[in-house]
């Protein structure tokens, strides 16, 4: 039977919901599921992880060097604790993408990126070419399987009823000091998190300025939605990078996605194709976004969006 270790992602004392999605992927693989929480004060996220349905054990490593998630610092600790596990999983977030290949190379094994489906304990589906093709991959059963989990493909594990045991570990290894955290500039927002919001409103280049983007914020706030943007809007400086949705930004799967003034480059569509319902508003009736939209509305966003905002208030 498989024995699976998930590396938890957490920030400011909170477990990232992506960790619960890894638990769902691990449940599909089948086996015993443990979660490793590395931090300088990992107790709070460890307690949250212990509540995730299907998880039987939390391993918590408290160490001052673990204050920030540095791959060069985390990787050797994971390697030290990996013995006996058949699978190691992280979310396919910037955290997991940065960290897991470093672990894989230290273990001398391959990594499967962006697991979107599990066909068996060693057989997985993943997207390539910006999601324009999928490939079924088989990993060798004699090696530890390392995989990042494409979070948009998986539901979050239920939280609440279960209570896994929490054990602390302290691998005795020297950690490198060649990589130092300086700061994190975090967008301050009271809006729902883009990656876990049930509804997302995104704006594109057609907004024309950072100032005009407030139309998007007002509409999103009326809906209780998270806010995203196309690469063009980020490149033009209308909004910060963490709002980018698409192949190289965030891959999201909200119940409702509303694309406003976004033409729908293939790289953007990659980021939204698992959305429940897609609405597109664009003045160009030929825009490729209409090919994937469940509901399309052609017209001037500067007229439509205020009307919509008024209609949902």
């Amino acid at each position: 039977m498989s024995k699976i270790l998930i590396i938890a992602e957490h920030l400011n004392g909170h477990l990232n919901p992506a960790t619960g999605k890894c638990v769902s992927c691990a449940t599909a693989i089948g086996g015993e599921i443990h979660v490793l929480v590395l931090g300088n004060a990992p107790d709070a996220p460890a307690a949250e992880a212990a509540k995730l349905a299907g998880v039987t054990k939390i391993i918590s490593v408290a160490r001052s060097e673990n204050e920030h998630a540095l791959a060069a610092v985390f990787a050797p600790q994971i390697v030290a604790l990996a013995a006996g596990y058949s699978h190691l999983l992280t979310p396919s977030s910037t955290f997991g993408k940065d960290l897991l290949p470093r672990v894989a190379a230290l273990l001398g094994v391959a990594q499967i990126s962006d697991i979107m489906a599990v066909d068996g304990p060693y057989t997985f589906q993943r997207p390539i070419y910006a999601g324009n093709a999928l490939v079924t991959i088989e990993a060798p059963p004699e090696q530890t399987v390392l995989g990042t989990v494409r979070t948009a493909s998986w539901p979050g594990a239920a939280s609440g009823s279960s209570a896994a045991s929490i054990e602390s570990a302290s691998p005795e290894i020297t950690l490198p000091s060649h990589t130092r955290f300086i700061n994190l500039q975090q967008g301050k927002s009271d809006r729902p998190d883009l990656q876990s919001a049930a509804k997302v409103v995104s704006g594109g280049r057609a907004l024309g300025s950072a100032e005009n983007f407030k139309l998007i914020y007002q509409f999103a706030d009326a809906l209780g939605a998270g806010v995203g943007a196309s690469r063009a809007a980020v490149d033009a400086g209308y909004v910060p990078n963490e709002m980018q949705v698409g192949q190289t930004g965030k891959i999201i799967a909200p119940e409702l996605y509303i694309a406003i003034g976004i033409s729908g480059a293939i790289q953007h569509l990659t980021g939204i194709k698992d959305a429940g319902t897609i609405v597109a508003i664009n003045k160009d009736p030929e825009a490729p976004i209409f090919e994937v939209a469940d509901f399309g509305l052609v017209g001037d966003l500067f007229k439509i969006v205020p009307e919509l905002t008024a209609a949902v208030c």
């Binding site: 094994v109 390539i128 991959i137 994190l184 119940e255 509305l297 919509l308």
Partner: protein, 248 residues
């Protein structure tokens, strides 16, 4: 300081990729190939560091078949000083690529290795991190800003939460994100100049690299396409449609 840049050749990003009818791969015959866009950003950054006097040599490296030479000439025309072609007919997976690059690092002793954060064909996003691990050096992935001083690099990284700044000791591996820079266009006289720049060809088999190609692709398939929906005529109709689906 020398800078080593990974310079992969991929299917051009404008090509709409098709899966082979027998599910054995994607159609690449007759398809336009181009440098991986993230690798062009990597090369541009290396050239700018050289132009600032922070590096004295920029080397581009690519792995692949014999016809890779014209691809490497592109990198030389963009401004690299010389190129290394690791010759193999086999496709290689990220762990193998990282092991190959480690051999080149041992040979060239660069102060900095800059790679794209991912290649737009397999979208793995692994090679830079793997190389840093094998080399036992720092990594700074998804870079959107880079500055070098006093044997250290300060790197702003695009992470899910925002922008993270790291300081790393050199040598180090940096992987590039989209907003690090805008690569220059190649000028005609530079294409001529590139013809006289050296390309070293090394047979992969002569490097003594243990293969890390552990994964087997069993089957390729097209993604499930979304159905085209309906057009609504105005805001009222849209609101009604969303209400009917319980979304408003």
């Amino acid at each position: 300081m020398k800078i080593l840049v990974g310079y992969k050749r991929v299917v051009d990003y404008n090509v709409r990729i098709q899966v082979q009818p027998d599910s054995s791969g994607v159609v690449t015959d007759g398809v336009k190939l181009a440098p991986n866009p993230f690798d062009e950003i990597a090369l541009e950054e290396a050239l700018r560091l050289r132009e600032q006097g922070l590096a004295n040599e920029v080397i581009v490296a690519a792995i692949g078949p014999a016809n890779m030479q014209s691809h490497l000439r592109n990198g030389l025309a963009m401004g690299a000083d010389r190129a290394i072609h690791v010759s193999t007919e086999q496709a290689v997976q990220p762990l193998t690529v990282a092991r190959i690059l480690l051999k080149l690092v041992a040979q060239e002793q660069p102060g900095l290795v800059i790679l794209g954060k991912q290649a737009i064909d397999d979208d793995s996003s692994q090679t830079g991190q793997m190389l840093a691990a094998l080399w036992d050096r720092p990594q700074a992935t998804f870079a959107s800003q880079l500055s070098i001083a006093d044997g250290k690099a300060t790197v702003v990284r695009e992470v899910d939460a925002g922008l993270e700044t790291l300081e790393v000791d050199l040598p180090a591996v940096i992987t590039t994100d989209l907003r690090l820079n805008e690569p220059r266009f190649i000028k005609l006289p530079n294409i001529m100049k590139a013809k006289s720049k050296p390309i070293d060809t090394i047979e992969l088999s002569s490097l003594g690299v243990e293969s890390g190609d552990h994964l087997q692709a069993i089957r390729y398939h097209p993604p499930q396409a979304r159905q085209k929906g309906v057009m609504v005529k105005d805001v009222a109709e849209l609101v009604e449609a969303l209400k009917a689906k319980g979304l408003l």
